[in-house]
């Protein structure tokens, strides 16, 4: 045995810990199999939601309008998906003098917590009229560390997960914008059209400003760095902020569960 007292202590600790008696391990095969089978039996609704009918009509109008050069120049100033409008050129109104600079930064907790409305999953779910769905990926994610409920001309739920080993750094945030909520994103450097579950989505890369609220009253203005995936399901618009690559971001988006 080692003469070093610390090593001896550690060895004795290891011996005692190895003697620990656990309750019998339950056989989880049946329960897990049953749960996964039930998961597969719930089909994802595939019928075309009214919002997509409206978007298809809008798309047809846009395609026609884009054949006219002057109209084309005006239309491509912004893109919209769900309740999120992405300005590609500088819009009016412009950011206020109090807004932060565009120097890229990581997303410390304080910038996320600039939003008001600290809540909990249970309390937020009780107040909104849409299901607060959580991502099943990454597999070690668990429930959000912080939940916020805001009004942005409609209900907006913000779910925040912190880095496990760096509790003051955001790992990922998911915004759920209910009917009527409105968000403007201003001049992200890159906007790419992608798909989530086969439906149109946008992928943007920061930094850029985000304004929440109406054209007259802004709930909050803040700088976002990192990647954002925006998509809709039914009448809910989702924004996923993270440093994930596009393919991983799409997998997370497609893993939402009740």
């Amino acid at each position: 045995m080692s003469t070093n007292p610390n090593e001896r202590w550690e060895t004795q600790l290891q011996t005692i810990a190895g003697d620990f008696t656990y309750p019998p391990t339950p056989d989880l095969t049946a329960a897990v199999t049953e749960a996964l089978a039930a998961d597969k039996r719930i089909p994802t609704p595939r019928r075309l939601q009214p919002v997509w009918v409206a978007l298809l009509v809008l798309l047809l109008i846009l395609v026609s309008a884009l054949s006219i050069p002057t109209v084309r120049a005006a239309v491509m100033e912004w893109l919209q998906i769900g309740t999120v409008r992405i300005w590609l050129a500088e819009p009016s109104p412009t950011p206020t003098a109090a807004s932060p600079s565009l120097a890229p930064t990581t997303t410390p907790m304080s910038s996320v917590l600039d939003v008001a409305g600290k809540s909990s999953l249970l309390a937020a779910q009780a107040q909104v009229n849409f299901p607060i769905r959580l991502p099943a990926l990454p597999a070690d994610l668990g429930e959000p560390d912080h939940v916020y409920l805001q009004q942005a001309e409609g209900d907006m739920v913000i779910l925040v997960w912190m880095q496990p080993e760096e509790p003051d750094q955001v790992r990922m945030s998911l915004h759920l914008l209910g009917p009527g909520a409105f968000v403007w994103k201003m001049q992200p450097p890159d906007v790419v059209e992608v798909q989530v579950s086969g439906t149109p989505a946008f992928w943007t890369q920061g930094p850029y400003y985000i304004k929440v609220g109406s054209g007259r009253t802004w709930g909050s203005v803040r700088l976002v760095d990192g990647h954002v995936l925006i998509w809709t399901e039914g009448n809910i618009t989702y924004r996923l902020e993270s440093d994930l690559a596009l393919a991983d971001g799409i997998r997370v988006a497609e893993s939402l569960r009740n």
């Binding site: 202590w9 600790l13 005692i16 810990a17 620990f20 656990y22 339950p26 989880l28 897990v32 668990g142």
Partner: protein
């Protein structure tokens, strides 16, 4: 069949391959959950949830890496969430007791083995200290596996262990004289 091949088959829908993985790792998952939560029923619920989430994410798992540390990483995070919810519930129950003037029932002490006393002492530490001690000493993971399960470098595991053991020693020396007797610890 090696683990990488078993995972590949499980991802392709081979139920026998998937169940083989469940049987291989359910004990480690359950035991870590039990150590963190202190309740067998809660641990069973968490273990089941871990395996369901692992199945959903298995397709994206890097099969060149060992599976156990990844599963234990999920276990730790889900147990931590569960514990937070339990603390809120316990706080609510405590407030109710205080409001009614009733005293909570305190279980009578029983003769405890050294390992149970050690576990009690470890549970006095922070969640981060508990996790590294449970993984390294109770579940006997290697330094490399412990690092993978915690998502940190091996050197960081060693330094965290050193600090956690120092804090554990303080707790044992102050409050667990039985463990100090006869040089047990």
């Amino acid at each position: 069949m090696n683990e990488e091949e078993t995972i590949r088959r499980a991802c392709q829908g081979d139920e026998a391959a998937w169940l083989a993985l469940v049987r291989t790792y359910q004990t480690s998952i359950f035991r870590l959950a039990y150590l963190l939560l202190g309740d067998a029923d809660e641990a069973e619920d968490v273990a089941q949830d871990v395996l369901i989430r692992a199945y959903r994410g298995l397709d994206h798992f890097d099969r060149t890496r060992p599976l156990r540390p990844w599963l234990l990483q999920i276990t730790r995070n889900l147990a931590r969430n569960r514990r937070r919810a339990a603390r809120r519930y316990l706080a609510a129950v405590t407030r109710w007791w205080q409001a009614t003037g009733a005293a909570p029932v305190v279980p009578a002490p029983v003769v405890q083995r050294d390992a149970d006393l050690l576990w009690q002492a470890v549970r006095r530490l922070s969640e981060a200290d508990q996790a590294v001690i449970y993984l390294r000493y109770f579940l006997e993971l290697s330094v490399g596996e412990t690092a993978a399960a915690l998502g940190i470098a091996e050197g960081t595991v060693k330094s965290r262990l050193s600090r956690a053991l120092g804090r554990l020693r303080t707790v044992v020396e102050a409050d667990y004289p039985q463990l100090r007797e006869e040089g047990r610890l």
